[in-house]
Symmetry: C2
Subunit: 176 residues, 2 copies
């Protein structure tokens, strides 16, 4: 019913947001829950499959940051780099699920250690590329500047408690 | 980069929610925006591809309503029918997008009239199946009753202004 695309190394679901807030540390006896948040930008839910390596990260990040999925002030579609908008990266192993009867199995997913390493690399590269684009935009008055643009990310392996506010999530699926 | 699964007739993305609110009529000069909302349950973003017919709807609805994706009070995974939870069905043609360079194309999507008809049939069948399950649950004290369970849906072709509150979206992809 659900299929892993043949040879697919990673799957991303993208949603546009006005504001998004993600828990990165659950509350415990000592402290309250900790959250990260972004304003206008894109939420990237990401899952890596078995066999994925760091080689795919540059192409993934370049594609995701340059796809024209965001509505600019004038209604034109621009990339999140061009907007410029922020990113919230959410580790989402459930995206690798395949239905087997009423149950969902995750046998195609990458192991936890490799997944954590790839997720960390993905977030770091998003940060590098998006902040470079934002710095370029700050030097360009026409683009409205890239001040306030940020990359936030969830804690790998945690429950991803998320609150999302959109002007249309405009949900897209990307396979790599 | 993104692929339409060979022979796929429909694509659904599923997210669990504590509360979700969707605009079904934008504001105009005469009236304020109109919204629908659900509490605990599942958001189904749905897109039909060229060649999809009503024949697929019963299997789709049965699968989606019976997949064990929802965390019950005891932490056990149950279906949205068993929870019992509500459904918010969001038409989301963007799910059919394929990247071509920096642009995204939607050539594989079903035409608007056929899409509207399938979407209407899908929502009606979700309503019938979920409400039948909820009525059965009301007769079963152990299940906590199905009171308050509802199916809400967006307006096909509109911008889907969505606000989502989760305890983990637990995002899944299903192809049919």
């Amino acid at each position: 019913m659900t299929e892993k695309a043949a040879g697919s190394a990673a799957r991303a679901v993208l949603q546009q947001c006005l504001h998004a807030r993600l828990q990165v540390k659950p509350p415990d006896e000592q402290s309250e829950a900790q959250w990260v948040q972004i304003d206008r930008g894109m939420v990237i839910y990401i899952c890596f499959f078995k066999g994925a390596t760091e080689d795919i990260l540059p192409k993934m990040v370049s594609s995701l940051l340059n796809l024209r999925l965001c509505e600019s002030g004038s209604g034109r579609l621009v990339s999140v780099s061009e907007l410029p908008g922020s990113l919230l990266v959410v580790p989402q192993a459930t995206l690798g699920g395949r239905a087997k009867g009423k149950a969902v199995q995750y046998h195609g997913n990458i192991g936890k250690e490799d997944g954590l390493r790839l997720y960390g690399g993905f977030v770091a590269l998003c940060e590098k590329e998006l902040l470079a684009a934002a710095a370029a935009a700050r030097g360009n008055a026409e683009a409205g500047g890239g001040a306030g643009v940020t990359v936030k990310s969830g804690t790998y392996g945690n429950r991803q408690v998320l609150k999302l506010d959109t002007n249309g999530p405009y949900t897209h699926l990307m396979e790599f």
